[in-house]
Structure formats: structure tokens, C-alpha cells
Amino acid sequence: MSRYGVNAFMREVNMSPACLAAYTGDPAAYARDWAGGPLTEQERAALAERDYGALYGMGAHPYLLWSFTEAVWVPEISRPELVERFRQAAAVHGYPDIST
């Protein structure tokens, strides 16, 4: 478990236009090559798949996770639909520990 690595990954993608473009262009390659912090296999796979539900369950910071999720899924999915899907994906996990 490396919540720090996941949070650092999401922050970078969320805050840099170049990183956001690179990640949304090829999430699997970006996640495979990312070396900005420690990631477990499971975390890297979830980032490669943009699997916000899995990331939520592993204790990614929820505020950061939502910004990241919105940045990388809209406009593929409309915002209202993404909000609904996100809520359902998070509800499965309740409120995981987010401490790093």
C-alpha cells in the first residue's frame, strides 16, 4: 500500500496540462512508466485502468481522487453521469482509512 504514491500521481496529472494530456492519451503506458513515487502492482493497475472505485477503496485521498477522476473521464462520460457512477463506486467501500 502506497497511498502517498497514488496521491502524488493523481496530483501531477490533475495539476499539469501536459501530464493530463499524456495520461489521458495512454493511461496504461503513463501508469507503467511513472516513477514519481512508490506504487504497488495493484495501485499501478488501477491507475492504468482509471479505476476510481478501486483507488477509492485503497484509500486514495477522496478530494484529490474526485478532481482527478473528473479530469480524466469528462468529456468521455458526462459530468452528471460520472458523479452518479462515482458515488456508487465509492459507496461499496464506505470511508476507508486515507492516512499515508
Binding site: S67, F86, A90, T100
Partner: protein, 273 residues
């Protein structure tokens, strides 16, 4: 000496910036009421007690309490423009007053971290866009960690407020100072109750009542990390209002309102200086 001329508390919900709709009438009125009050107080500087959202301060270095003492404060990040439509602004800072708060805090046992070069996020800019729309009053941000647990205790937030008052009033710097606490009532982002209005109207009512009646003991007795998470997963930023209660010496607020809308309930508080 510096003189406190007003103590206020507002939401910094960035979704309000481009939101429109009749349900926001009370929220707009809340901002406008505080804008008028703040203008009448004629501050030379404004201390904004705010929480950066993992943009400037992150897990690589996370200060519990930090005084921003820079002469220029760039505000908002690219992602906030993208997500919320917020503008980028360059605020004037009051580095001299910042140094007074830093030194005065340390003398009184609050070992603030400090920064001479930082960028502020919406938690600083959004209240100012509504309360000082010309952005002409120099700012000293005091950042608090309400994002990366473990957080300082509620009692510590209150104490920081008491110390801010003492540090200001003992400072030789001539200033009329307004304090704005920037925070939330019950709020959830990125969780199961995400974007569904207030996640806990019961918490909102209770919290407004603590502020209205100056019930410091009631607030401190209840505001654990767990209790705040139950109210909503980013409700911890309510703790910034404990700083304002400390600045106000624990007195009842002059006015305390939670403006209900389709978003999280928006707090609007004012305390006697």
C-alpha cells in the same frame, strides 16, 4: 498596535463561482451582507485562515499551521480554472504583518511554519472575490491542515485563534486588521454522499448553533476527526471557524447563518472584533 476591526467566517465552495439559480439567493445575500460589513470596518489588511486543497501543501511537506508572509500572493492553480472556472489573480500580501504573526505566535507557543513564496488556492481567493471584489486589501494567509490526517485537535485550532489575537494586539505595526476564516459546514467531495447537497443537515444546524451561542466547550467536545468525517468527508475545514472563535475570545457571534442550496450549506458568520 494592530487593531482587529472585524472577524468573519465564510464558505469557500468553488462550485459557487459559476453556479446560477434561484436556490442560491440566500448564499449570494450572505456574501453580500459580509461584504458590506467588511467594507464598513475599513481594514488595512486581511488575515485569511484557510486550508489548501493539496495543491501548494502536499504530503511531501505538510505544515499543521503556516503563515504566508509574502509581498505577492499568486492565487489559484490551473486545475481550479479548469474544474471551477476560477480566475487567476495576483493578490498583494502584507509580509510585515505576516512576520508579526509568525513571531508573535512562536513567542506564545504556536510554532507556525512560514513561507515567503507560495501560491494560494481557492480557499483564499474565493472568499476575497466576494468580500473584497477589488482585491485591494493586502492579505496574510494562515494555512491550516484540515486535509491530511492526523489533523491538529479542535482545541488547537481554537488556541491558534486566541494567539493570533494576542500577537496582533501586541504588535507595534499599525494596522486595522480583519480576520476571515474560510471553511465548510458538512461537506462531502469524492465519497458516497458526493454532490448530493449537505451530507448532514443535523451537523450544519448544530455547528451554526455552536457559533451563534459561542459554545466553545460544546464544539471542542464533539469535533473529533471521526465526528467530522461522519458529517462529510471534507467537513474538517469547519475547524477554521474554531480559529475565528478563538480570535473572538469565545464570544457568541453577531450573526451566524447556514444558507441552504443544492450544494453543501454555506456558512456566513460574523463576530464582534
Amino acid at each position: 498596535m494592530a487593531e482587529i476591526v472585524g472577524v468573519y467566517g465564510t464558505t469557500h465552495n468553488p462550485l459557487l463561482w459559476r453556479a446560477r439559480g434561484d436556490d442560491l439567493a440566500a448564499t449570494r445575500a450572505g456574501f453580500e451582507r459580509l461584504r458590506v460589513r467588511l467594507a464598513a470596518a475599513r481594514p488595512d489588511a486581511v488575515v485569511v485562515v484557510a486550508t489548501d486543497h493539496l495543491t501548494q501543501w502536499f504530503y511531501d511537506t505538510m505544515p499543521a499551521f503556516l503563515v504566508g508572509k509574502a509581498p505577492l500572493v499568486p492565487a489559484t492553480f490551473w486545475n481550479e480554472e479548469r474544474e471551477f472556472g476560477l480566475p487567476y489573480r495576483e493578490l498583494r500580501g502584507d509580509a510585515e504583518l505576516g512576520r508579526e504573526l509568525l513571531g508573535g505566535g512562536i513567542e506564545r507557543g504556536v510554532d507556525f511554519a512560514a513561507s515567503d513564496a507560495f501560491r494560494a488556492d481557492h480557499s483564499v481567493l474565493l472568499p476575497l472575490l466576494y468580500l473584497t471584489p477589488e482585491l485591494e486589501v493586502p492579505v496574510v494567509p494562515v494555512f491550516t491542515n484540515c486535509m491530511a490526517p492526523p489533523l491538529p485537535s479542535a482545541a488547537r485550532f481554537f488556541r491558534v485563534g486566541e494567539v493570533l489575537r494576542e500577537a496582533l494586539e501586541d504588535s507595534p505595526v499599525e494596522r486595522r486588521v480583519a480576520v476571515i476564516a474560510s471553511g465548510h459546514l458538512a461537506t462531502e467531495v469524492g465519497g458516497p454522499r458526493h454532490f448530493a447537497g449537505s451530507p448532514s443537515r443535523a451537523f450544519d444546524e448544530r455547528a451554526v448553533e455552536w457559533v451563534a451561542s459561542g459554545d466553545v466547550d460544546g464544539a471542542l467536545g464533539e469535533l473529533t476527526y471521526k465526528r467530522l468525517t461522519e458529517a462529510g468527508n471534507v467537513s474538517h475545514q469547519f475547524l477554521n471557524f474554531l480559529v475565528a472563535m478563538g480570535v473572538a475570545g469565545g464570544k457568541p457571534a453577531l450573526s451566524a447563518e447556514g444558507a441552504v442550496s443544492r450544494f453543501a450549506t454555506s456558512p456566513f458568520f460574523e463576530w464582534a472584533p
